[in-house]
């Protein structure tokens, strides 16, 4: 999925910001230029969000100062386990994905989607939902972009378009980052979603020896870089430098394929996706569902951290007079009894049936529904499951013993 563009020749966009970097060009940004980038994005009225160390993890937060980026932090991830570690040699983006994803911003946990007022016995819808500034997110990874593309199909594809999502999505500015390392929980190399960033960004950064090779992915990206280059001269990347920058995530991808289990280290994850739809749908009575249910807490964490899960429930909240009503949407999960409640009873009353719903929807039903798997291989559901249940391990267990059936009780 490499771009066909030819990189700019050396020096092309260095003098007084002219001529400007265009889509497909690559320029060098120094660490100090990241502040100029943030300033340029904010200058245009955007809310800028970026990775920062807070509450013992790298999370997405509002970002004003480039100095708040998690330079020198590495995350160790395993099933039910996340620890930050200081590493002075680490760059600005050598952590990988944390508990937050783009979903937290584009499909927020809680959203007021309508306000209604009763006056003289008639209901009227108010259209004064609070305006939101356009959003820029710095530091998104290849799997995040893949997750976004999947949510785009859910919220924007087909006949019903989600207006709030569309509003936020259309103005979204993305500064992507090519990963230099992968956590043990990452398996984007299996799903084809990473680690190389290939499309769907405005700017993409590849960290090299303390500076960033920046690829321009869109006109908006070029415009923001033009603002940056008004404050400092930007050096274009040479042809060899672009090749080397492109080689970096490619090398990581190869390394991920070659990863082996090592004693004392978390097991590196991978997922065999071959025929996965039929594999799961053909094994709906497999004993593994009961086995995983003996460990699963039905706590919902996997679905809520998953960048593609889209379930929500909508309810009306009235004030005590009953004359002012707000319609609210909030995240829902197939791990709750309410998710499958019909006529006062839940049709997925066992944890086994709820875990099966998650796995078969994510990896099989999604393909029928949206023409793509619902899994990007980001590993969040593995890390943030409080008991470390591992989607790759569950699929492998079913694959290894496919065809088994639960003996009727």
């Amino acid at each position: 999925m490499q771009r066909e563009n030819h990189p700019a020749g050396p020096g092309r966009c260095q003098v007084d910001g002219s001529p400007q970097a265009a889509v497909g060009d690559w320029v060098w940004l120094n660490v100090a230029d990241l502040q100029l980038l943030i300033d340029a994005l904010r200058h245009d009225g955007r809310r800028v969000v970026g990775p920062q160390v807070a509450d013992a993890a790298v999370v997405y937060r509002d970002l004003e100062r480039a100095a708040d980026l998690p330079r020198g932090w590495i995350d160790e991830q395993d099933g039910g386990h996340y620890r930050l570690r200081r590493d002075e040699a680490a760059g600005v983006f050598d952590h990988v994905v944390g508990p937050h994803s783009l979903k937290n911003f584009l499909f927020p946990a809680r959203e007021t989607i309508g306000r209604f007022l009763r006056e003289d016995g008639t209901w009227r819808q108010l259209d004064d939902l609070p305006p939101e500034p356009p959003l820029a997110v710095i530091g998104v990874r290849a799997c995040d972009l893949a997750g976004l593309a999947i949510q785009d199909r859910v919220f924007l594809g087909g006949e019903s378009v989600d207006p709030g999502y569309r509003r936020r999505r259309e103005s979204l500015f993305l500064v992507a980052v090519n990963c230099r390392r992968a956590a043990a929980t990452c398996f984007c190399h299996s799903t084809g979603c990473g680690p190389a960033v290939s499309a769907g960004f405005d700017l993409a950064l590849t960290e090299r020896d303390g500076r960033f090779a920046c690829e321009v992915g869109s006109e908006r990206g070029a415009a923001v870089l033009a603002t940056v280059s008004a404050a400092t001269s930007l050096l274009a990347c040479s042809h060899d430098e672009v090749s080397a920058a492109r080689g970096q995530p490619a090398a990581l991808e190869q390394a991920m394929h070659a990863r082996q289990e090592e004693a004392g280290q978390p097991k590196p994850r991978s997922l065999n996706t071959e025929g996965i739809r039929d594999l799961l749908f053909d094994n709906l009575e497999h004993p593994r569902w009961e086995e995983v249910a003996s460990r699963c807490l039905s706590c919902t964490n996997c679905t809520l951290v998953c960048p593609t899960c889209f379930c929500s429930s909508v309810g009306e909240v009235a004030d005590l007079s009953g004359d002012a009503v707000e319609r609210e949407r909030h995240w829902a999960s197939c791990f709750t009894l309410d998710h499958a409640r019909m006529h006062g009873t839940s049709v997925r009353s066992s944890t086994a049936s709820r875990y099966r719903q998650w796995l078969t929807h994510k990896l099989a039903g999604w393909i029928d529904q949206f023409g793509t798997s619902g899994c990007t291989g980001c590993g969040r559901c593995i890390t943030w499951c409080p008991v470390g249940i591992d989607i790759t391990e569950e699929v492998a267990a079913i694959r290894d013993t496919a065809g088994q059936k639960e003996s009727p009780a």
């Binding site: 039910g80 919902t300 309810g315 944890t351």
Partner: protein, 285 residues
């Protein structure tokens, strides 16, 4: 509150509820710290707006004026701790159409139910100068162990918003919209980083019912289960994982045997942890 008392003084005393009469609310206290009633008082600002729809007929913490029963909704705070409590709760059940327990004490026996794992006489002589003047039952037990309960409002203390939702639903004759899923839902919804995963702190959130808004994890500490067990719990899996990650067994036992330690799911788990810790069962209530 004075407005409400005045209003209730004007209300009818007829025992058969006339069609348009406002539902009568009664609040009772048993062994408890009064924290849940304080939450009710806290909600009273909003409750005032309900005053034309509910009559607060019996709420000693707010007013000494008592309207005679029967009542439409009885809110019970506190656990059953004395012989008189048992008689009183039976009488209360008879005079309330809907009986709702509020808080951990009424719903699961409360923190005072920790005594259920010890000998009452040991506590009495350790705490009181003249233990012979104390007449207390051996165990602190939830209301539902004695009379049928229509609904449980969880929390230590209860959440005023949930209380208001409950009262509104009784007034409107609909089911209360209250969560039954885990605290993790609220934790993730507010974007809090999981303390169990990122700090290795054993947290009861995955097995505890939502309602508090995940306050504790948002302040970097574990959930200690004050809303009691969630709709579906798998405590054995959770504590086994925490233990595998290095949490000491006695710490886990104390975590599960906390404010709602006598709630069935939590009680069974702390007993199991204790019984399998050193191969021998200890005092098991």
């Amino acid at each position: 509150m004075s407005t409400m008392s005045t209003e209730s003084a004007m209300s009818t005393e007829s025992t058969e509820k006339p069609q348009q009469a406002k539902p009568k609310l009664a609040v009772y206290k048993f062994a408890s710290c009064d924290g849940c009633q304080l939450q009710l008082l806290d909600a009273c600002g909003k409750l005032m707006q309900l005053a034309d729809r509910v009559e607060i007929a019996h709420f000693l913490e707010a007013s000494s004026r008592v309207e005679p029963g029967p009542y439409d909704l009885g809110l019970v705070e506190g656990s059953i701790s004395t012989a008189e409590d048992i008689e009183r709760i039976h009488a209360i059940r008879k005079e309330c159409r809907f009986l709702v327990t509020i808080g951990a004490c009424a719903t699961s026996g409360g923190i005072q139910a920790l005594r259920n794992w010890g000998q009452i006489d040991d506590f009495l002589s350790a705490v009181y100068a003249s233990p012979e003047t104390i007449s207390s039952l051996e165990k602190s037990t939830p209301i539902a162990d004695h009379v049928p309960v229509d609904f449980e409002l969880r929390g230590c203390p209860i959440d005023p918003g949930q209380l208001l939702e409950l009262i509104t639903s009784v007034v409107l004759g609909r089911r209360p919209k209250l969560p039954s899923q885990s605290v993790c839902v609220e934790c993730k919804s507010r974007g809090t980083v999981c303390v169990a995963v990122a700090r290795g702190v054993p947290c009861l959130g995955p097995v505890t019912q939502a309602g508090c808004g995940a306050i504790c994890p948002a302040h970097d500490r574990e959930c200690f289960g004050c809303y009691g067990p969630a709709e579906a719990v798998n405590l054995v899996s959770l504590t086994s994982f925490y233990e595998q990650q290095g949490a000491p067994r006695d710490k886990l036992t104390r975590l599960v045997r906390g404010i709602n330690g006598y709630a069935q799911a939590f009680r069974e788990e702390s007993n199991r942890l204790e019984a399998t810790a050193d191969g021998g069962a200890k005092g098991r209530p």
